[in-house]
Symmetry: D2
Subunit: 346 residues, 4 copies
C-alpha cells in the first residue's frame, strides 16, 4: 500500500528523532519548566522579531487551536471560521466544549475574507446574540491555499473594524512560507495576527506545535487553560526538542526559511508540483487551483476504486454523477519513486 | 408612545391574572409537584391525543428551547437550525453553554427545509466532526411564516433519513394554528415532531411555556436538566395555572382551537391582516409575504425616524441605500384604535 | 393537608398580586428595558446607599446564584461554598454547567468560616489546580443561621487575603434582617460583599430576585450572561413590579426594614419563635439552635410517619437509630391556627 | 542538579526510543487507524484476559482520566474522588470543563473507601442535586499507597450498591503491580473496575497511556470524545509503539509482570526501598508509610533549603512549625549513585 492520505502517515524526520535521543537522558523539570522549552521559545521569538511574544508548545493542532482561540474569549463570545476551517469541520466541537460558538463564514476556496466576516457580523445585535470575537484562519488553508500579504492585511483591517482577534492555524505553515511566490513572511504574520501556531506534527515532527501569542489578551493563565484542555504534557521538553531540531536556522542565524522545517516544506511543495504537472499531462482535471502539498483531482469513480487497491488516499467529495474529487498529500519523505507509482496508476 | 415592538409589551390577559389570583392562597408543594401542574399536563395530553406524552412547564422560550433541544444530545452532537432560528440568533449561545454546536442551515424565508438539512449533513464525516442530531424549527417562524403539513412531513422524512430528532419552537404557536388556511393541527404536530412547546409568554401569559415530549429519548432526568439550566421555578404551579387558563377548551372539551389562547391568536392575526391591508392600500411595500402577527414593511429611513417619535417598533434590517425594513407586531390586546394610529402615521 | 414544607407552598402576597394587576396593561419594552426595572433598581440603590451599584432582576434563586457567581470567574476558577450551601447541594451543578468547580468547605452549622476557606485554599498550588476565586455564603443559611457583623467582616478579611470575591445568597434575606438581635444591616452587607441578591420568591413574591452588583468585575455583559443561562425574561417588568411592591419603604423613605418585605419576614420569624417555644414546651428537642423561619426538630420516626398523614414537611436527615430531624418552615401567611394544628399534633 | 522531583525528569527508556526509530518510516494511516494500535490493543486484551475489552491510547494522564471518566456520564452526573485524587487536585478542572462536578471524598491516606463514598452519597437527594455516578481511584495513590484486593472488592461492592462506575487511574500502575506483597493482579483489576488505564508517561514512555474499557457504557463514540478533548493524536501509532515496547511480555507470553514495564517498576520500587532504609537509618521520620516509588520525609525547613541547592524535589506540605514534608520520587533510571548523593546529603 502506498500512502498519499495525510501528512501523518509516517514518523518524524531522522534529525528530529536524533534530537530526542540526544537529549533523552538529560534530567529536567516537567510540564514545560525545562531549558529546552525556554531555549526554543527564545529562538522562535528571535525568528519572528518579537521579543515580547509568548511561546507555548502543545501536542496537537486541535489543542493549539482550541486552547489558543478560546483563551481571550468571554463565555458569550464566539469564533468565526470559514466553513471549511479545521475548528469548524474537524475538531468535533472542541470550541463548543469550552462553551463558545463557532460561526461558519461563507468561503469560496477555503479562505476567510472580509466579506465572510461581514456575513457573520451581520448576525450580531445585542444581549440576545453571541458576540463574534475572533477570526480563525488556516495558512495554508485546508485546501492548500496560501494567503497573500494583501489578503492578510485586509483581514486585519476588517478584524480591527469589528474588534475581532485574528488567529492563524499554521498546521502546515512551512509549506505556505516556502510556496513559490509567497509574499508573506513569518515576521509579516507576527505583525498582522494576534496569535498563531507553527505546526510540527504535519511537517517532520512526531508531535509538536509551537503556539505564539502576540497579544497579551491571550496570555491569561495560559498553562491553566492548557492543563484543563488536556494540552499540558508531563515530558513537555520533548515538544521543544523536536521543534528546535525542526525550526533552527541551519546556518546559525534566525531565519526560519533556512531550517530543516523549510527544507521539508519545500520538498513537499516540489513533489506536489511535480505530481500536479504529471497529473495535468495525463489529462486529469484539478478540482481547485493547486498550492502547497495537497492536490485535489477529479477522477471517475471507477478509477478511484481501482486506485484504492494500491493507494491510501482520501476521497474528498462527490464532483458529479460519475466523478469524485480525491486528495493526494505529499509528505516530508515522499520520493520520486512514490510519485512514479501514483502517476503510472492514474 | 405606542408599542408595536414585540409580543411582550404588556402583561397577561385578565383571565390569566384572575386564575393566578383565584389559586393564590391554595397551598401546594413546590417545583412542579402540585395539582395544577398535573392537571394542566393531563389536559394538554388529551388535546394532542397522546396520553404517553410528557409535559413540563418553564418560564421562558430560551429555557424551553435550550433544555429540550439539549436533552437527547450526547456531548459530540449538535443542533441544526435555520440561520434565522431563535436558538441560533437570539439565545446568546445557550446551546453552546451546554457544550453543543448550533449549525446554521441556509434558509430563504426563515423555514428549515430538507435542502437546508442536507447542506449541514454534508459536513458530517466521522470522529473529527460534530454529529448533527436535532433539527430545530420555529412555527410560525421568526418571520411569521406558517409551515404546511406537507412541509413538516418532508422535514420529518429528512430527519428520519439522517437520524435527526425534530423539535418545534412554538413561542407563537397559537398564531400558526389559527392562521387562515393553516392545515397543520396540534395533533399533526404531535405526530410529526419529537418534542415541541406551546408558548404562553408571547400570547397572553405573564410567563409560561408548556414543553411536550413525545419521544422518550428526551425524557431523561428532565427536571435535573431544567434545574441545572435555571429552568425549574420554586412556585412552578403558577406556570400551569396560567397555561390552564389560556389553553383550556372553553366549550368543555379538549380542542385547543376553542381556547382563550386560540381566540387571542386569532385576534392577533386579524389585527395583522387589517394592518397589512391598510399598509398596502397606502402603497407601502412588504419585505416578505405576511403571515401571523408580524408584519415586515419597507420604509424610507426618514419615515422610520419620524415614526420613532410616537411608536416603538423594531428596525429589522437595511433594505437598500435609503430604505429599511421595520417589524410591526400585534399582540393580544391590540385594538382598532392602535391600528388607526400607526396607519395614519405611515 | 397542612404545609410546612417550604417557603413556596402558596402564591404571592396580595399587595404583590395587586401591583401586577395595576400595571398589567401598561405598555413597556421587554427584557428589562422598562420603567419598572429602572425605578425599582434606583430604589434599591438608595436603600443600600450605593448609587454606583448595578441591579438586575431574575426569576429564581438558582439563576441569581449561578449567573452572578460565574460572572467574574475565568474558566479555571471556582467557587467555595460551605458543604451545605445551596449552590453545592441544591442546584444540580449549574455552576459546573458553566465550567467552574464548586468546592465544598467544611462547616459546622451551615456558615462559611475563615477556617473553611483556608481548608479549600490549601488545595491551591499552581497551573495544575483550579483557583478558588469566589466565596459563596447564604444569609440566613440553609439552616436558618444569621451571620453577625463580626462574622461577615472576618470573612471579608479572609477573602481579601486570598483574593476571593464574596457573594451572598439572600434567598430569605428579609428574615435575617428582621431577626431579633441581628446586627447586620443591608448597608453593612453592601459594604462587605461584592454582590448579593434580595430574594423575593421565598418571601412574598410569585417569583423574583433582585441581584445587586457592588464590584464592577461582576458587571461584564451581565445580560448576555443572563440570557445564556435562561435568566432573562421577556416580560421582565413583572419582576421589578413585584420587588417594588415588596421592598418599598411604606413610610415613604428608603428603609427596607419598613417595607412589606420586612413585615412578612418579621411575621415568619415571629411564627417560628412561637412554634419553637411550643415545641420546646412539649419536650421536643431541637437539632440546631433556631434562627429565622426554619425549625429543625428531632422526632421519633413513628411520630414522623404519623405527622405525615396531615402535614407536608421535609424530613431533613436521620438523627439516630430511631429518630430523624424534620424541618418546619413558616411562610408569610402562616397563621396562629396553622401553628396550633401542628403543635397539637406534635 | 539532581532530580527527585517527579517521574518526568528524563526521557523514555532506550528500548522505547528504539521501537520508535524502528517503526519510524513505516507508513500507516493516522488517528489510531494503524496496525500498531490494533496489535498493542490485542496484546493488552490478552494480558488482562478480556477479549471483549476496548483499548484506546492517549498522550497524557489528564486526557486518560478526563475523557474516560466523563464518557459514561450524563450532564447532571458527577465524579467522586478522594480529596487527594489527581482529577480533583491536579487537573485544573478538566472534569468541570466537561460540565460535571468532582466531589472530594474524605480520605485518610489517599485511598478512597466505602466510607468516603457514603459521605458523598449522603448529599444526593433528587432533581436538585448532582448525581454522583463514578468513583475515581488512583492505584497506587498519589501518596504511593497500594490498594489490596480486599479493599478494591469492598469499593466494587459499594459502587454496585450505589450504581456507581468504578474507574482506576493507573498513572504508575506498574509500581503497584510489582510492589512486594501486592495481591491485586491486572486481571483482578480488570474484573473489578469498569475502566482503567495503564500509565506509560510516568514509567518509561516518552508519552502514552493505554485506556482499557471493560464496561460498554464507556465506549460510546469514544474517539469523538477524545478528539473534542484534545486527546486524539495525528501520529497516534507512536503511542501504541511505545506501549508495545513497554508492556510486551519479554518471555513471549502475555504476562505483564514479565515486561520491561514491570522491570522498570520493580527497579523504581527497589530504589525507593533502599532510599527509605537509608533515610530511616539516618534517623529521619517518614510522613506516611512508604509504598512504591514515592517517599515522603519530614525534614527541618533549614535542611530542606540546604538540599534545594543540589537537588530538585517537591516540598509537599508543612508538617509543623519548623518542619515540612518533602517528596522524593525514584524513576526508571535512578541509580545507586543517585541514591548515594541524596542519602549523603540528608
Amino acid at each position: 500500500m502506498n500512502y498519499f492520505i495525510s501528512d501523518y502517515s509516517l514518523g518524524a524526520h531522522p534529525k528530529v528523532m536524533q534530537a530526542l535521543i540526544d537529549t533523552n537522558l538529560e534530567h529536567t523539570d516537567g510540564y514545560g519548566l525545562d531549558r529546552f522549552t525556554e531555549e526554543c521559545g527564545e529562538m522562535i521569538k528571535k525568528m519572528i522579531g518579537k521579543p515580547e511574544a509568548k511561546v507555548y508548545f502543545m501536542h496537537s493542532g486541535t489543542a493549539a487551536n482550541t486552547i489558543t482561540c478560546c483563551a481571550p474569549l468571554k463565555p458569550y463570545e464566539g469564533v468565526i471560521a470559514p466553513r471549511t476551517g479545521h475548528v469548524f469541520v474537524h475538531e468535533t466541537g472542541s470550541v463548543e466544549l469550552n462553551g463558545h460558538r463557532t460561526f461558519a463564514a461563507p468561503t469560496e476556496d477555503g479562505k476567510l475574507t472580509p466579506e465572510g466576516i461581514e456575513d457573520i457580523m451581520a448576525l450580531y445585535e445585542d444581549e440576545h446574540t453571541v458576540i463574534p470575537r475572533l477570526a480563525y484562519i488556516t495558512h495554508p488553508t485546508e485546501n492548500g491555499g496560501v494567503y497573500t500579504k494583501a489578503e492578510l492585511k485586509a483581514l486585519r483591517e476588517c478584524c480591527d473594524k469589528h474588534d475581532l482577534y485574528l488567529f492563524m492555524d499554521g498546521a502546515r505553515l512551512g509549506t505556505a512560507l516556502m510556496w513559490p511566490g509567497n509574499d508573506l513572511s513569518i515576521q509579516d504574520i507576527a505583525d498582522l495576527v494576534d496569535a498563531f501556531y507553527i505546526g510540527g506534527t504535519k511537517l517532520g515532527a512526531l508531535y509538536g506545535e509551537a503556539v505564539v501569542l502576540l497579544n497579551d489578551d491571550f496570555d491569561d493563565h495560559f498553562k491553566f487553560r492548557m492543563k484543563r484542555n488536556c494540552g499540558l504534557m508531563g515530558k513537555a521538553r520533548a515538544l521543544a526538542v523536536q521543534m528546535q531540531a525542526l525550526l533552527e536556522d541551519e546556518t546559525g542565524g534566525y531565519d526560519i526559511t533556512k531550517s530543516l522545517y523549510a527544507r521539508l516544506a519545500k520538498h513537499e511543495n516540489d513533489m506536489a508540483i511535480k505530481l500536479r504537472e504529471a497529473v495535468l499531462a495525463k489529462g486529469c482535471e484539478l478540482w481547485i487551483p493547486h498550492q502547497t502539498n495537497q492536490l485535489f483531482i477529479i477522477l471517475p469513480n471507477e478509477k478511484i476504486k481501482e486506485l484504492e487497491k494500491d493507494f491510501l488516499f482520501y476521497t474528498w467529495c462527490a464532483y458529479d454523477e460519475g466523478r469524485s474529487v480525491i486528495r493526494l498529500v505529499t509528505n516530508w519523505n515522499t520520493s520520486e519513486d512514490d510519485l512514479k507509482l501514483i502517476i503510472d496508476a492514474l
